[in-house]
C-alpha cells in the first residue's frame, strides 16, 4: 500500500520526476485521450515490471538496455495490434505517440531502477503505484487543457464503437468562447509551467509554515 501512495505522491512520474513528457504533452488535448493514455501506460508499465522482474536472472549485464527495450517493445507492439483492430479511432488519435511508449523514460527507468533489483511482487506494486500517479496527473492536465481550450469535457468519443454513443459534457451552455490557444502546443507548455509553478509554490508555503 505504501508503495502505491509513494508512486502517486512522493515519486509522481510527471510532477516530481519529470519523465515521459513527450506523449503527455502531445496527447493531453482532451480528457478522454489523456485518461486512456494513462491506462495504456499503467498497463505497459505494470506488465513490463513483472516480466523484467521474472527474467532478471537471465539478463546479462552487458545487454541490459537492449533486452529491456525488446521486452517493452514487444508489449507495445501487442498493444498496437490490439488497439488498431478493436478501437481504430483511438489508435489513429494516438498516432506515433503509441509507438513512442517504447522509449518512454518512465517505463525504462522503472525497469532498470526497480524491476531489475526487487522481487516480482514489489515490482508489480511499484508499477501500479507509478502508473496510477501518471494516470492521475495526466488526466488532470488533460482536463484543465480541455476546459480552457474547448469548454467541454469529453468522456467517450474516440472509443464510441465500444460504448455505442458519445458522451461530451458542454460546460457553460455554449456561452463560452473557447481559447484554442490552450490546446495548441505552445499552450501545453504554458499550462504545464503554470501548474507546476503552483504546485511548487504550495510546497514552498507548506515548508515554511512547518
Amino acid at each position: 500500500m505504501r508503495k502505491i501512495k509513494d508512486g502517486v505522491i512522493k515519486e509522481n512520474p510527471l510532477v516530481v520526476l519529470m519523465l515521459g513528457l513527450c506523449s503527455t504533452m502531445a496527447i493531453s488535448t482532451t480528457f478522454e485521450k489523456s485518461f486512456l493514455l494513462g491506462i495504456v501506460v499503467l498497463f505497459v508499465l505494470t506488465l513490463s515490471n513483472v516480466v523484467v522482474s521474472l527474467l532478471k536472472k537471465g539478463i546479462g549485464k552487458s545487454v541490459v538496455t537492449p533486452s529491456l527495450i525488446l521486452i517493452i517493445g514487444t508489449l507495445v507492439t501487442i498493444l498496437e495490434l490490439l488497439l488498431s483492430t478493436f478501437v481504430k479511432p483511438l489508435y489513429d488519435a494516438f498516432g506515433i505517440y503509441l509507438s513512442l511508449i517504447v522509449v518512454n523514460c518512465i517505463i525504462l527507468g522503472r525497469a532498470i531502477l526497480v524491476a531489475m533489483k526487487e522481487s516480482v511482487k514489489e515490482s508489480f506494486m511499484d508499477g501500479v503505484g507509478i502508473g496510477l500517479g501518471y494516470l492521475l496527473s495526466i488526466s488532470f492536465f488533460g482536463l484543465v487543457r480541455e476546459i480552457l481550450g474547448h469548454g467541454t469535457i469529453t468522456i467517450v468519443d474516440a472509443t464510441q464503437n465500444v460504448f455505442g454513443k458519445t458522451i461530451v459534457l458542454h460546460l457553460f451552455d455554449g456561452n463560452y468562447f473557447p481559447i484554442s490557444f490552450f490546446v495548441s502546443p505552445a499552450g501545453a507548455f504554458l499550462v504545464a509551467g503554470i501548474l507546476l509553478g503552483m504546485i511548487g509554490t504550495w510546497k514552498e508555503r507548506k515548508h515554511e509554515t512547518r
Binding site: 519529470m18 519523465l19 515521459g20 513528457l21 513527450c22 506523449s23 504533452m25 502531445a26 538496455t65 537492449p66 527495450i69 525488446l70 517493445g73 514487444t74 507495445v76 507492439t77 498496437e80 495490434l81 498516432g95 506515433i96 509507438s99 513512442l100 517504447v102 522509449v103 523514460c105 525504462l108 490557444f181 495548441s184 502546443p185 505552445a186 499552450g187 501545453a188 507548455f189 504554458l190 504545464a192 509551467g193 503554470i194 507546476l196 509553478g197 503552483m198 504546485i199 511548487g200 509554490t201 504550495w202 510546497k203 514552498e204
Partner: protein, 188 residues
C-alpha cells in the same frame, strides 16, 4: 524547391520539440550547460539522419516485401540502439575527450523520442528517399537549434529573481511556451 520548403518547415514551423514535443526529456535534463547542449544536439543530428535512412531502407526493402510492417516499432528501436552503440564505440576510440565529457549521456540517445519519432514520421508521411534525408536533417537541426537557444536562456534564468516555487522546471516550461509561440507564428 519542394525540398527547400520541406527543410525549412521541419526546421522552424513544424519544429519537432515545439510542435510535436519529441525530445523534451533530454532538453529538460541536458540543457544546463551551453557546451554540453550543443555537443548533445550534434550527436542527435548524426544519429537521427543515420537512423532514419537505415530505417527507411529496412522498412521498404525488408518489412514491406515480407509483409511484416507491424514489427516496425521493434525493428526501428533495435536499429537505433545498434547505431548508438556503434557511435559510442567509435567516439571512445577516436574522440576520447568528447567521450570523457559526454560518455554517460551517449547511451541515452537511444531513448530520445526525437530519433525514433523522426524515423516513424518519415514512414507515416510516405516520404521518398531524398525527402526522408532532407526531413531528417531539417528536424534534427531544429532540435539542435532549440536546445542551444534554450541552454543560453537557461543560464540567464538561473540568475533572474524568480518566485521560489516557479524556479527550475516551471519557468523552463513557460519559456519554452513563449519560444513555441514565436516559432509556430501562432494565429498567422
Amino acid at each position: 524547391m519542394k525540398l527547400v520548403s520541406l527543410f525549412l518547415t521541419a526546421l522552424l514551423t513544424e519544429n519537432i520539440i515545439l510542435t510535436k514535443f519529441l525530445g523534451l526529456c533530454p532538453l529538460m535534463g541536458n540543457s544546463k550547460r551551453e557546451g554540453h547542449a550543443y555537443k548533445m544536439g550534434l550527436l542527435v543530428v548524426l544519429t537521427t539522419v543515420l537512423s532514419s535512412i537505415i530505417c527507411y531502407l529496412f522498412y521498404y526493402h525488408i518489412l514491406v516485401p515480407t509483409e511484416t510492417t507491424h514489427l516496425r516499432t521493434l525493428v526501428f528501436i533495435f536499429t537505433i540502439a545498434s547505431i548508438v552503440g556503434t557511435l559510442e564505440i567509435l567516439i571512445k576510440k577516436y574522440f576520447p575527450s568528447l567521450y570523457k565529457s559526454m560518455g554517460l549521456y551517449i547511451p541515452l540517445i537511444t531513448t530520445n523520442c526525437a530519433v525514433l519519432g523522426v524515423s516513424i514520421l518519415t514512414i507515416d508521411h510516405a516520404f521518398s528517399f531524398l525527402e526522408t534525408f532532407v526531413y531528417a536533417i531539417g528536424s534534427s537541426m531544429g532540435f539542435l537549434l532549440v536546445i542551444y537557444v534554450f541552454s543560453t536562456l537557461r543560464i540567464k534564468m538561473d540568475q533572474a529573481p524568480i518566485l521560489k516555487g516557479f524556479k527550475g522546471t516551471p519557468i523552463a516550461f513557460i519559456t519554452l511556451g513563449i519560444i513555441a509561440l514565436l516559432f509556430t507564428r501562432y494565429g498567422l
